[in-house]
Amino acid sequence: MDVNTPDNDPIISAEQQRYATWLNWGMRSGLAILAVSFLAYVLGWLPAHFPLEQLPKVWGLSTAEYLKQTGAPTGWAWLNLIGYGDFAGLIGIAWLSACSLLCLLAVMPIYVRRKDRVFVAICVCALLVQLFAASGILSSVH
């Protein structure tokens, strides 16, 4: 470890700066969406797919039982129900989960320009993992 040598100024790389900027905007917008959609849900501005008053009867059930009793969908099918407060709240959650994916897409061109092939490959792998998880393919795995 070197301390205070002349050539070790803390320079934050361009990709790190860009990642931070995208992460910042993604996180702020995600939290705003989360808060607004939740208010719309609990204040009754949006109708609930499953009545709020009935929730204490089903939130102690396992996911499989809960889905059976409430008719809630799996995979990306909830997007068809975003007019309901219980599913509108999931938009903010999905947005926050997608933040890192967008940040990776944003920094990849920098690595490509620099011909940093290893980190381009690492970014591609990270993107594929995130896309695979987000795809909903695994929602049918039991």
Binding site: M1, D2, V3, N4, N8, D9, P10, I12, S13, E15, Q16, Y19, A20, T21, L23, N24, M27, L31, L34, A35, F38, V42, L52, E53, L55, P56, K57, W59, G60, T63, Y66, A72, P73, T74, W78, D86, G89, L90, I93, A94, L96, S97, A98, C99, S100, L101, V107, F119, I122, C123, V129, Q130, F132, A133, A134, G136, L138, S139, V141, H142
Partner: protein, 326 residues
């Protein structure tokens, strides 16, 4: 002339307020626990908004202690909410991942810009951790809840031992980088404000670190606890990153690993807005207060309190899983 006594009085007042806050937190968590435990398993007289409010208040207090104790919100959230609230563990774990991810996302930009989180160090580890977190999440959702409760209890008790015994090395000595770290150019420089110095760092034992992050990601996805408690010692003690860089980079890894597992819980229908949203907002507001109280609260005291809370929550999860204490 009066400045010194006044300053001491202010400091004393601050400490008293902080201790009162901690006492209030302990009492509220334990009484919430006792109430919730009595009202288990599923039905309760309390309306939905009462539980949402209790969740928000609990997470607010958990957020306050999460920052000064140096643990992520997820590891406190899952055993405490899973043990003392009437929600099924599937939904608690889904919300726990979201809590861990949101807290890390909130701190991420500042840490990246300050050089305290390293993208080059985080990305290779995060790829493996996020892939294994998917496997962990899938397994967690097919295992019986009692099995997960028992495993969660044992894991939390393991974390208690780790927290109580693990040492920290502020600036570990890394004499020689391994070949992989050299090939990936994993090194950097950060400004340590406490010492007013620029400090360059590098890492070693990268292959072993990569392997351990596969296990950490799996456990994080399985229990929905995030993994700050494990990331930090591996990055700091094993790989040799300075403690501040390890803490910052740990959060960055958490954003990627938790998000891949969150997708699984989301697509399986295991994320309920009524549980996740008050938790995230409460935890983030609490974390903001916790960051402000950093100078007032005694970190070692908060850490001891968190260890005690985790010990209690771990035993509770274990006994609940074994059917001894429903």
């Amino acid at each position: 002339m009066l400045n010194e006594p006044v300053a001491r009085l202010r400091e004393l007042g601050g400490l008293l307020r902080a201790n009162a806050l901690l006492l209030l937190l302990s009492l509220s968590l334990f009484s919430a626990g006792a109430y919730a435990a009595n009202s288990l398993p599923v039905t309760s007289e309390m309306p939905w908004w009462g539980w949402a409010l209790a969740l928000f208040v609990t997470c607010f207090f958990l957020g306050i202690v999460a920052v000064p104790s140096g643990v992520g919100g997820g590891v406190l959230f899952v055993p405490i909410v899973g043990g003392f609230f009437p929600f099924h563990l599937d939904f608690v774990r889904g919300a726990g991942l979201l809590v861990a991810m949101a807290s890390a996302l909130a701190a991420g930009p500042l840490l990246l810009r300050g050089g305290l989180a390293s993208l080059r160090l985080a990305l290779p580890l995060a790829v493996l951790a996020s892939a294994s977190a998917i496997a962990g999440a899938l397994l967690g959702l097919v295992l019986p809840a009692t099995t997960v409760q028992i495993a969660l209890g044992l894991t939390i008790l393991g974390i208690v031992v780790l927290m109580a015994t693990a040492k920290k090395s502020e600036f570990p000595d890394v004499l020689k980088q391994d070949r992989l770290a050299l090939a990936l150019s994993i090194h950097g420089v950060f400004h340590d404000a406490a010492q007013s110095k620029n400090i360059s760092w590098k890492v070693h034992r990268t292959p072993l670190g990569l392997f351990i992050f596969i296990l950490i990601g799996f456990i994080g996805g399985l229990f929905g606890v995030g993994a700050g408690w494990a990331n930090l010692p591996v990055l700091n003690l094993l790989m040799g990153a300075p403690i501040k860089v390890a803490a910052g980079t740990s959060g960055l890894i958490l954003t990627l690993a938790s998000s891949s597992a969150t997708w699984i819980y989301l697509s399986k229908g295991a994320v309920l807005a009524i549980i996740a949203v008050p938790s995230v907002i409460g935890m983030m507001l609490g974390a903001m207060i916790g960051a402000r109280l950093l100078h007032v609260l005694k970190a070692s005291m908060v850490r001891k309190m968190v260890i005690t809370l985790l010990l209690f929550a771990g035993i509770r999860a274990l006994l609940k899983g074994l059917g001894v204490w429903m």
